[in-house]
Amino acid sequence: MTGKRANVSDELLYAWVDGEAGARATEVRDLVENDPTVAGKAEALRKLGRDMNAMVDAELDAEPVDALAALAGIRKRIAVRKERTLSARLGAWWDDVLLFHRKALAGVALAAGLGALSAPGVVYLMRDRVLPQQGNGVVATSVTVESLEVGEDGKATVLHDDSGNTTLIWVDSGSGSQPLEF
C-alpha cells in the first residue's frame, strides 16, 4: 500500500470522489485533470460507487420487497463481481470476502452501497448477511460484523465460511505479511 499518489493521498482522493475534500477540492481536481494515474483511480472509485448503488437500487425496486430475497440477490451479484477480483483467489471454502483499507473509500463505498452507514475509520457492515447454499436456498451467518475499525495503515478482510458458523477478520496492520492467498 503506497498511501500516496503524486501529491494527493489516497484518503484525500477518496474524499474528493465522495465530494468531501473540502478546501482541497480544487487542488485534487487539478491533479485528476493532469495526472492520468490519479484520474484512472478516481474513475475506478466512481464506477465502484455507481455499480454498488445501482445494484442496491435494482434490488430494492423489485416487487414484492422481500428483505431476505433482496439480500440474497445482492449477495449473488457481489459474488459474480468478486469472480473478477483478486479476492476470488481465496480458497473455495471461504464464501464471502469484504476488503477495505482504512484509508480507502472502496470499503466505505461498498458499505454505503449496501445501504449501511459509514464514518471515518469505521465501516459498518450489513447486520443480517446471508450466504448462498447449494441451489436457491440461503443460510444466515452465525456472526455478523456490525462495525470494524483498524489502525491508520491497517487493512482488514472479513470472510465467512460456507456454513455460516465462522467469520474471520484478518487484519494486515501494514507489516507486509499477508497470510491470505490473494
Binding site: 481465496l90 480458497g91 471454502w93 471461504w94 447486520r127 451467518t141 452465525s142 456472526v143 455478523t144 460484523v145 456490525e146 462495525s147 470494524l148 475499525e149 483498524v150 489502525g151 491508520e152 491497517g154 482488514a156 465460511d161 458458523n165 465462522t166 467469520t167 474471520l168 477478520i169 484478518w170 487484519v171 494486515d172 496492520s173 507489516s175 505479511s177 497470510p179 491470505l180 492467498e181
Partner: protein
C-alpha cells in the same frame, strides 16, 4: 421495602437482560506458522476453517472460557503480552449476542453479533515468525 423488591422483580421480568445468566465465550489463542506441519487436535472443530489459510501449522497456545455479565469486560492476555478485550453488550430477541472486541496490538475494534455456537476469529497479530489467530466462540453455559 416490599414495594422495592416487587419493583425489582418486575424490572427483571420486563428486561430479561438484567436477569440473564452470564454470557459464556470460549477463547482460543492459535499460533499459525509455517515452521512445521500439523494442527493441534484441540483445534479439530476449527480445522476446516483454518485449512484455507496458507499456514502449514496451527498450535493452540492458550484457551480460556469467559463467563461475563452483559456490560462487563473480560481480558485475555496474548503471548505477545498484549490484551484481547471482550465486552458483551446485549442480547437481542433472537438470542444473538452483540459483543465489542478490541485487540490493541493491531489496533482493531469491532462490534459483532454472534449467534449461539458461532465463532468469530481475528487473525493478524504477528508472533514468532507467524501469526496469532484469536477464535471467540459463543458457547452454551456449562451445567452446574
Amino acid at each position: 421495602m416490599r414495594f422495592v423488591l416487587t419493583a425489582i422483580a418486575y424490572l427483571l421480568l420486563a428486561f430479561p437482560a438484567f436477569a440473564a445468566e452470564p454470557v459464556t465465550l470460549g477463547v482460543k489463542i492459535i499460533y499459525a506458522h509455517n515452521k512445521a506441519t500439523g494442527i493441534d487436535p484441540k483445534l479439530k472443530k476449527l480445522a476446516k476453517d483454518l485449512s484455507s489459510l496458507k499456514f502449514t501449522a496451527y498450535e493452540l497456545k492458550d484457551e480460556a472460557q469467559l463467563a461475563l455479565e452483559l456490560g462487563a469486560t473480560g481480558r485475555v492476555q496474548l503471548p505477545t503480552k498484549e490484551w484481547l478485550l471482550v465486552k458483551p453488550r446485549d442480547i437481542d430477541q433472537h438470542g444473538k449476542l452483540r459483543v465489542d472486541l478490541e485487540v490493541e496490538k493491531i489496533k482493531l475494534k469491532t462490534t459483532s453479533i454472534i449467534a449461539k455456537d458461532g465463532t468469530l476469529a481475528i487473525g493478524g497479530p504477528a508472533y514468532q515468525d507467524g501469526t496469532l489467530i484469536l477464535a471467540i466462540t459463543r458457547e452454551a453455559p456449562k451445567p452446574d
